[in-house]
C-alpha cells in the first residue's frame, strides 16, 4: 500500500518538475474532455490529496485553494505536507483499512456525515491522482508539448525495483 502511495506522490512531484519548464501561459492550457487548465487540475489534484488525509485525521491546517491562481511553488509546498502525512500514516500503529472514518465534508452542509471505510479514502487518493495526471498528459500531448513518463514502471526503474536481466 505504501509503495502505491509513494508512487503517486513521486508521479505528482515529477509532473510538477516537468511543468516548471513550461511558460506561464502554457499552464493555462486545457483540452476538451479533461478537467480544466493544467494549473487548475494540478491544484485540484493536490487539494484532493489533502482532503483525503484530513478525513483520515493525519493532516491539519488549511488546504490548498482550488483556483486558477495557485502557483507551482504553492502547489509543491502543499504536496510536501501531503508527503509527510502519508509517511506518518504508516509509522507507529498499523493502518487499518476497514476502520470507519466520519466524513463531514458534504456538498450540502446539512446532510448527515458519511461513514467511510478507510481503504476507500486511500484507494480514491491514488485513483484521483492517476485520473488527473492523465488529464494533464492529454493536454500536453494535444498541444504538442512533451509529456513525462509517470507510470509505475518508470518509478520502479528509478528505485531499482525493476532490473533488466541479461543472458
Amino acid at each position: 500500500m505504501l509503495q502505491a502511495l509513494r508512487h503517486d506522490l513521486w508521479a505528482t512531484e515529477k509532473l510538477i518538475a516537468h511543468l516548471r519548464t513550461l511558460k506561464k501561459e502554457q499552464l493555462d492550457l486545457g483540452a476538451p474532455g479533461t478537467y480544466g487548465s493544467i494549473r487548475h487540475t494540478l491544484a485540484h489534484l493536490v487539494r484532493g490529496d489533502e482532503r483525503y488525509l484530513v478525513r483520515l485525521g493525519v493532516l491539519k491546517g488549511p488546504t490548498l485553494s482550488e483556483d486558477n491562481e495557485a502557483s507551482l511553488d504553492e502547489i509543491a509546498s502543499h504536496l510536501a505536507r501531503v508527503k509527510t502525512a502519508v509517511e506518518g500514516l504508516f509509522t507507529g500503529s498499523q493502518f487499518d483499512p476497514e476502520q470507519i472514518v466520519l466524513d463531514t465534508f458534504r456538498r450540502v452542509p446539512t446532510d448527515p456525515p458519511l461513514e467511510i471505510e478507510s481503504w476507500t479514502m486511500l484507494a480514491q487518493f491514488t485513483h484521483h491522482g492517476s485520473d488527473h495526471r492523465a488529464h494533464i498528459g492529454t493536454i500536453l500531448g494535444a498541444h504538442g508539448l512533451p509529456t513525462v513518463e509517470l507510470d509505475v514502471w518508470a518509478y520502479g526503474r528509478e528505485t531499482g525495483a525493476i532490473r533488466e536481466r541479461r543472458g
Partner: protein
Amino acid sequence: MTPGPDPFLHRQMQHDIWATERLMQRCRKLTRDQLELTVPGTFGTIRRTLAHIVAADERYLARLLGVWDEEPLREAPDVALDTIAQHLPHVRDGVERLFSGATLDPERVLADTPLRRFAPNSARFEMEVWVPAAQLINHGTDHRTHVNTILGANGLETVDVQVWPYAIELNASHEAKP
C-alpha cells in the same frame, strides 16, 4: 467478494475490474463508428484503449501469479468488444487467485513472466511484486481516463468510475444514522 490478506490491494484491484466493466457497459451502447473515436493526447481509439487495458491486466496478473494458462488477449485494432469482455473474467479470476493464499510479499522478486512463451526474444526483467501490482491499478485508471476524455470531448456521456460510487455499491460508504 470478501477481501482476504492484503485487503487494501485486493479492494483496489476489485475496484479496478468494476471500473473497467462499468466502462465496457457504457461503451457497448456506442455505435461502431463511435468506438473508433479518439482525441489528441490520448492512447488511441476507444476500442483499442479498452483492449489495451484488459490485455495489460492479463500480463500483470500472469507475472504476479507466475502461471497463466489462458491465451492472452491480442491487442488488434479491430478487436471486438465481445472478445475483450470474454477476457475480463480471466482478469477477475486472476485477482481472486492472487489473494486466495498467503499474504503477498511486496518485495519478493519475480524473475520472469509465464507469457514469455509468446515472446521468447523479448527483454527479460525481474521486478519486485509491488511493481506490477501497483502498475495494474495505475495503468487501468490512466487509460479509463483516456476513454472518458474521448467520450466527453465528443459530446458523449461519460461514466463515473471513481472509488466513491464503488464504495457506495459495497456499502463501504454510507450516511451515518442519526
